[in-house]
Structures are given as C-alpha cells and as structure tokens.
Symmetry: C2
C-alpha cells in the first residue's frame, strides 16, 4: 500500500509555539511546501516532512505544492505510489506552515509573511525577506539537497519510514546532485543516497537514468513553460534576470527549439517583471551547459561572467551544471 | 590558566565554501560576533564558538564584540578568566564572519552583507534582511539561549571544553532565562544548564544571584546609556520603537531615575532615528515589569498591548519579563 500524499496524525503539536494564538477548536493541519515551479526536491521534501511531523511527531501535517510538479517530480510521485499533493495558490493569515527547499519570499505564496511560519529547512543561500513574529526553527546547511538534511534530522526514526518516503528521499538527492555530478554534492549527500539505495535495493545508475529521461521529456511544454520551469529571479548590478535552467540528458531536443525559445523571452520577461531571461540548457551526462544568446546583453553576460565568447546565438560552458554554485555567484553584467 | 579571549588554530578551514575566492596567502581568521550592545549571550557565545572552530574544527577563529559588554557580561568574563574580546566597528568586504545570537542586520555591522557570512546560530524570530552570495549554514531554534544550541551542536566534543567555556555557557543560559524564570525557557535550556552546573560544581541560585547583582549595578551609566543598553529596534503600524529592557534585581535603583530617563528619551529617539523609546524595567525576582509612560503614545501602547492602564507615569505589568515572547509579539499602537 503506498502511503497517501496527504497524511494526518493526531495529538499535540510539539513545534507550535506557546505564544501562537489559537482561536480554533480543532488543531490546524500544518501545510508543508517547497518553492513555486516544484522540482523533485520541492515535491518530495514536503512529503517526507509531512510524514515525519504526522507519523513520528504526532503533529497533523499535509504536503502541498505551489504549482504543477515537473516531469521528473511527477515520475517520482508515480514510481513510489504517491498521489499528487494538492496545489495551493496562497496561504491564509495565521495558518501554520513549514517551508522547505527555499527561503526566498519571491518563490513562496504572497501571504507567507502573514502566515504562522513555524519552520524552514533549506540548503540555499540566504535571500532575506522572510520574517516571523516569534521564534522559529530553522535549519539551513550547505549540502546539495533538502532531503539530506531531513535524513539527519529524522535520525533513528528513519527506521520507521515507509519505502515510499525512502524512495522520495533518494529521488530528491539524485535529482539535486544530478547523480553526484553537480559541484554542490557533498559527502553527506552521497552517503545518505547510497544508504537509502542499499536499503531499497535500487541500482542508482539505472534509476537515475529513468529520472533524467523523465525530466528530459519536455515535448508537452510550450516555450514559455520551458522558460519558467526551473527558474529563479536574480538581480545583479540593477538588472533583473530570470535565471532558468533545463537539466536534460537530451540537450538537442531543447536546442532544436532555440529560435522560438528566444522569440518568447521578451514576452516572458515582460510578464514576469524582469529585464532578461537567461536559459541554460544543462547537459547532465556531458556536464556542460549551453546558454542561449538572443542579444548583446546576454552576450556581455556570457563574456563577463564566464569568460566565454558566444559564437552565433549560443555559447557552450564546459563544466557548468549548477545554478547555485556556478551560475548565480558568477553572474555579472 | 584561563584560555585567551582570542584563540587561533591551524589547518584547513572546513566551513569555508569551495567557491569563496581566496586572494590571500594566509587563511583569514573568522570573526565570530553577536549583536550590538552585547549582553552575556552575545559576549559568551562568540567565545564558545571561536573555541569550537579553532580548537575542535581546526579553523582559525576569533571572538569579537560590537560594543562594550554590559555589566553582567563583564562579570562573566572576569569570573571565568577571559580577557575582554576586541571591540570592532565594522567588517571588511569579503571577510569571513560567523554571526551568533541575532539574525537582524540592524544589530550588526553596516558591512555585514558584503562580508563572507558563513554561519548563523541564533534563537530569535526571523527578521529578514541578511543575505549571502552562496549557500550558508544556519541553525535557529526556539530555545532561550544561543549557548544551548551550541551545546547540542558541539555534542561529544564538549568533553574537551575547558572550564571557562563551560562557565560561559552556563552564564549565557542563566542570563537569557533569568534563571529559568523567563517564559522563553525550554526543557533543553534547563537540562543543559543543570548538566554544566553539576560538572562545574556551581550552585545555580547563588551564582545567578551574583550575575544579576552585577547586571543591576547600573550606577556608572548615564540615562542615555541605560536607554540603549539592551535595546531592539521594532516597527509596528508605521511607528518605530526602540524597545529597551533593563533586567534588574533592584528596580527601585532604576525607577529612582525615571524623571531624567523620560527627559532623555526624545533625544535618544531622535539620534537613533526612531519615534519613541519604550523602557521596561524588568524585576527579575518578582517577575514583573514597569513600563515608563512619558506621553500619551506610550499610554496608548500600554493600553492596547497589555490592557494595562497607566497610573501616573509608570504602569506595572505583572508576569511580563520577556521582550521576545511577551513584549514584541503583543506590541500595538
């Protein structure tokens, strides 16, 4: 029996603060969610943590999503027998929430700072902007994946985790590390993934290949959807970018569409209130990226950020696979 | 032999990120500091963590202060044989720093967001505003004291901690919990304090009485210094407050000066760019506060926030001892 995507428990809520005003008769179920445009980690980590809060800590909790999961995340849900969690638009004022896999208000519901934010578990740079009225529980560590931190926090209670929860954890780590190829990968991420794969009897290379094939199947998506699929807003030197990556084992499939992708960039940029979309097509297996170069602004960005001169309307960036470690920290205009 | 306040170690710096540009031949010593107007936790926790980084992790680190320690913190330094750490004005761009006991940029050096912020250990509400260029290590937990979190993070390596480090930890916890009277106190804070006191052979009630007597000796301070001594900026409903507390076992000593304290408030408010100073004189032993009421704005704050009607120019708030749990979350104008 797969566990339901929505798990609820009973009893006292240990992470609710004593000062939280409780105007309700029944305890509110804590909503656990990751970032908008959910990838595998932002889909799997809420399921893992909602299980832990509900089943181990006795705190009613429910995993939800802030958008449609990407194709790899959808594969993960199906492979391990989860129903797709409910997609929510916003959170109510005062509603108890736990945020995982981000600390960036731009990637969270508009009402996040009026919700009762009880906990953050994340592995990204500190963005600033989130705030709480009372003390909070935060764990942010420079590892590759939220699930790796959760594995440590759950500790010996992992012995009680159902197969599906372990499968979600393994999927999150393989996804965020690109099967240990990303320079964000730490020894901790590797050790946790190997321990989980052993317990589950999963062959990592073949399972990762299935995941990446699912992620690479982007035929169903419009150009605008591809430009927004795995995207972070980032401002540098007064210029606002949407920094999009498409991790794929089949870069040619995406690059065949480069003309229409570049034509769609101004519309997406305008609708999303940024100056320019940057699309990096990440070739997972060959560990390199191709940046689309629609104009001189992006040509200059490529030159100043990566010392790479564009030939035509693309530029190849050997070794660049991580937005977090290699793209964002180097971005210059 | 007391340990020096400035401790340095050798060898590789494990918490430095691989992406940190290192333009220097020698490794930079990490500066560890708490908030401005340092109290016991913001003086002791940097010493504890600099010891841990230097002596256990082999990462050169130095505790520094962002101002003169208060009288209780000075007592703690003297009692356990520490030299007073260096007081710094600002941090250099790119300098490696660890922040403890705050996550509020207003309580930190002006250059904090250009420094190489590597780690935050704290127990306050999330304020927002700090940001980093790369992944970071953050541990924020809703306990009463930073030292309690450090005790857990150091784990079995506590066996190697010198007496002075254990003494600083115990002092931090007794200070932040007001000897377990504050509602911020958790079972974890209590358990850690009792374990440390047992190891050190310290009688908690008599040691806490010495600490609180030191904190209560405010005769050397001007009115303006008292108003700024333990103070947090907080804005509510568009009005900016400096929310000051004076924890004392001798409230009469402070309240004897209430006329000149209230006269000094407008000058301090103006110099510090806030609308009003709120001074809560916290009677540690009787677990109550007296709020000075210099004008109708504060009279209204007392009424709306605590349902307390001022008689004359003070108002007694029974049971109110914690700015974090009882004052800030309730503040209304």
């Amino acid at each position: 029996m797969p566990p339901p995507a929505v798990v609820t428990g009973t009893g006292h809520a240990p992470i609710r603060r004593a000062t939280t005003p409780d105007r309700r008769i029944l305890p509110m179920t804590i909503k656990v969610f990751g970032h908008k445009s959910p990838d595998t980690d932002s889909t799997g980590s809420p399921l893992i943590w909602a299980w832990y809060l509900s089943e181990i800590k006795g705190t009613p909790a429910e995993a939800v999503l802030l958008g449609t999961p990407n194709t790899e995340a959808a594969f993960m849900l199906d492979r391990w027998g989860f129903e797709q969690p409910t997609i929510i638009e916003d959170v109510a004022a005062g509603a108890p929430v736990v945020v995982v896999d981000t600390n960036n208000p731009a990637e969270l519901p508009a009402g996040i700072n009026d919700a009762d934010l009880q906990q953050i578990i994340d592995h990204h740079r500190l963005v600033g902007g989130l705030e709480t009225k009372g003390p909070i529980d935060i764990r942010i560590e420079p590892v590759a994946c939220t699930a790796t931190i959760m594995w440590k926090m759950i500790g010996k209670d992992m012995a009680q985790a159902p197969t599906a929860i372990k499968g979600a954890m393994l999927s999150c780590i393989l996804s965020d590390t690109l099967e240990f190829r990303s320079p964000t990968t730490t020894q901790e991420d590797k050790a946790v993934a190997h321990a989980l794969a052993d317990e589950l009897g999963i062959d990592i290379p073949s399972y990762a290949a299935e995941m990446f094939a699912a992620k690479s199947d982007v035929s169903a998506f419009s150009d605008a959807e591809l430009l927004r699929m795995d995207s972070k807003a980032y401002e540098v030197g007064g210029t606002k970018f949407r920094v999009s990556v498409l991790e794929t084992t089949s870069p040619g499939t995406v690059l065949d569409r480069k003309a229409s992708l570049m034509e769609t960039m101004p519309t997406v940029a305008s609708e999303d209130g940024v100056d320019q979309v940057l699309l990096f097509v990440v070739d997972i297996l060959n560990e390199e990226s191709t940046l689309l170069v629609p104009n001189d602004l992006v040509r200059d960005v490529a030159s100043r950020s990566f010392a790479a001169e564009a030939a035509g309307n693309t530029v190849l960036l050997p070794g660049v696979v991580s937005r977090k470690k290699q793209i964002i920290p180097n971005l210059k205009v």
